[in-house]
Subunit: 221 residues, 2 copies
DNA sequence: TAAGTCCTATACTCGCGAGTAAACAGCTGT
DNA sequence: ACAGCTGTTTACTCGCGAGTATAGGACTTA
């Protein structure tokens, strides 16, 4: 309060670390906690992971973690939020990209599937609603809706340009994303298939369907 | 040991309950615990459900539950096992039914999707691996494999008779069942769509694909 | 040197929920 | 009347993990 408004100077160099640097440190430590926590959550599950686990694996003690996060729920929220942020950015990029609706949806789903394999994206797929506090849950649901909206827009664009044909956009979105979300439940990095292979294969199946082209669907029966 | 071999009599009526009846009581109480437990698990999640919750809602106390089950893990195991049993029976019935591979797969997936909406089936979809003890998990995995094998057989039959065309049977199974498993995560009985509507819609999408028939897949690009 | 602040550790509290010990009621068969 | 079995209760133990009180070290600013 005693110092006046900041002023433009000839040089910004100074032997003293800038407060901005202090912030950076704090942010990077927060980040480290998040990265380690999401590993544990994905591996052992949220409930089976104690903050003690996370702390020890970072060579600190539990209160240090509480210096960066108010409580365990906030950590889980931050992980899921981060995952949804990554997904939303990928979805927006795919929507802006060129091509018809189907091509853009293809790109979107591939990115989505790859993100489900590990990290924050997998945390989105693996975190059940009841693991989050009611407040966090409602915020997460809002973020999920954002992604859904983008996906639906792309599908609707594809229906208009004739490249996509589905009966119900909402339900189709749930089914397609559900299939990809499930990857987070079984993908094993040590397995024979790479993230990319799984993503391409799954998405091809969702787009092309199971039926041979001549058979359409079992109607009339 | 004192009484000899049982003898055919003119009547079986008797004022005393048969030992068989006692067994029935025990079995039906075990069943009641399971039915109530799976409701809680599906609603609040396994970890958030205490056996106290289950006991109180059945108008008994916690030790009574331990009179029928050794521990909480055994209850969860029994729920998931039951769900997988239901699924396996439906899958076998669909496999035995008439029609080509695609028609049988269609019937199988419809049944599967409906089961994911509630009860023991939903518990299968909602229970993550790490909620089970290692021993229970390996038994559950074996049961899941049984179902997978049936599904794959039907898909392979469909490929041979030309009604189904997919690149990788194993991965296709995971993707299709994953899409349906996901129903257990979002289905709301109070919502606008019935179990049947959701099942039929989801399965139609998996079989027919998202792409309009003329568009196949975005290849060449 | 002294006050202030940021970060981290030691050493707790506290509640919850899984699981148990032990007693007791009721019914069965001797 | 009594021994025994089944099912149930009351009244616990016990450990774990979330979260906290508090102190101390390091570095900053005056």
């Amino acid at each position: 309060m005693t110092t006046g408004a900041t002023v433009k100077r000839a040089t910004e160099v100074s032997p003293w670390p800038k407060p901005e640097q202090r912030q950076r440190d704090r942010a990077s430590k927060r980040e480290a906690v998040l990265l380690r926590a999401v590993e544990f959550f994905n591996e052992k599950g949220f409930h089976a992971t104690s903050l003690e686990d996370v702390a020890v694996s970072l060579h600190v003690t539990k209160p240090t973690i509480y210096h960066y996060f108010a409580n365990k729920d906030e950590i889980l929220f931050a992980c899921v939020q981060r995952g949804l942020e990554e997904i939303r950015q990928a979805a927006e990029a795919a929507e802006q990209a060129g091509g018809n609706g189907l091509q853009r949806l293809h790109a979107l789903l591939i990115d989505y599937a790859m993100m489900m394999s590990d990290g924050f994206g997998a945390c989105v797929g693996r975190t059940p609603d009841h693991a989050l506090s009611p407040e966090s849950l409602s915020r997460i649901k809002a973020l999920k809706r954002d992604t859904d909206v983008i996906v639906r827009r792309v599908i609707e664009a594809g229906m208009e340009d004739g490249s996509i044909a589905v009966a119900d956009v909402r339900l189709t979105t749930f089914t397609a994303l559900g299939a990809l979300n499930w990857i987070s439940r079984w993908y094993d990095p040590a397995g024979p298939l790479s993230k990319r292979e799984i993503a391409e294969h799954s998405v091809d199946m969702l787009i092309g369907g199971l039926a041979a082209r001549s058979h359409k669907v079992a109607e009339g029966e």
